[in-house]
Amino acid sequence: MRVKSLIANADPVPGTTEGTLSARAAEELSALVGPHGAPPPAAVRRSPRRSPRRGALVAVVACGAAAALAGVAFLSLHGDPAGPGGHRAGARSGPAGQGEAAGGGALADEPSFGSTAELERAADVIVRARLGAGHEETVDDVRTTVATAQVLATAKGRTPGDSVEVSYTTPGTGPETAALTAGKEYVLLLDKGEGGRYVLVNTTQGWYEVEGGAAVPAEGNRVALSPGVREALRLTARGR
């Protein structure tokens, strides 16, 4: 059984819901932001997951302009590609995802993205690039390849120059590696890492090989790139 599933199932506080404030939390918020902020909740409901004890969780029902503004701000931030939650390592709210596909085999514990929007939102940078040879480093007993990728086109974000340094677990050294080959062209969906390097958002969906002018997803990845990203990278739609 997968490590992630085993540990997640033992969570003593499951089902944490963003945007659901307890009565105490709502009162404290009102006390902090004062007259410029959200008014006290006009109506509350009990969370069906909790036992009816004192201090049980209740939901803040949006009412008033300030609460509506908070809701808009929440939705705005939740959709912000630079904001948190773009990809959660252990998120259970999303679909089981490609990482659990039979074809992935040992690709068991990474986060995965169930939609084009989620995937592209998770990346800080989306580029079309040609991968260089790179060199290997060993960090905490994990063999890592660091390679320079020459950027040919950018669909999202800004790179420091016309190349990026990409760090990924060396192919063939264990589970959760990306089958990247030096000299080939890829669409790379990258997160900013340490020291100016970039990492794939995950090893299955963080790269698409460019073949015949189209982006080919890796085995087990059922998410396509958006038309906007394909257009920015001068790629055609791939027939399936």
Binding site: V13, G19, V33, G55, F74, P84, A89, A91, G105
Partner: protein, 169 residues
């Protein structure tokens, strides 16, 4: 008509409210999981966000990583944070009126307790608290790529302790 000050105050309040609404449940659950005490979790979380509000009104940025780092620092003073996960799980289940942990869950908690703290923390941040790699990196003081490396190593260690077969190379 709104003055510049009242409009900026309103914008600040709106930004803080959005951050609070989104992150308060997560931070509170983070503290609850490590203390076993819902009341203490609410107190600590309130302190986190009071400090966050002060920072924001002072013109400083407050991100998700900062919230969890602050919660962790406050938690380090809470004696319950030293308890074993199985004890914390039992305390939470009793308080919430839920069934005790199954044999398998107890085995998982025992395996987690036997791991070095660094391995345990990256696993819990990822699989219980649901933090992204960037958020986890902020708490652990490393970058996202290092988080993946640490998570990979922690999973290997967990499999060894829990006696799961290692994945083929």
């Amino acid at each position: 008509m709104q003055t510049l000050k009242t409009r900026s105050d309103g914008e600040l309040a709106a930004r803080f409210t959005a951050l609070y609404t989104r992150e308060h449940p997560r931070v509170c659950a983070y503290v609850h999981r490590r203390s076993g005490d819902r009341g203490a979790a609410e107190e600590l979380t309130a302190e986190v966000f009071r400090t966050a509000w002060e920072r924001m009104t002072d013109g400083q940025d407050v991100g998700t990583g900062w919230l969890f780092v602050t919660a962790r620092n406050l938690l380090s003073n809470h004696h319950r944070s030293l308890a074993r996960l199985s004890e914390i799980h039992r305390a939470i289940a009793e308080t919430m009126g839920r069934a005790p942990a199954s044999d398998r869950d107890n085995a998982v908690l025992d395996a987690l307790d036997r791991l070095p703290a660094a391995h345990r923390e990256v696993l819990l941040l990822s699989y219980w608290d649901g933090l992204s790699a960037a958020e986890t990196g902020a708490v652990l003081g490393c970058g996202a790529s290092a988080v993946w490396v640490r998570l990979h190593r922690a999973r290997k260690a967990f499999r060894a302790v829990y006696d799961l077969p290692q994945e083929p190379v």
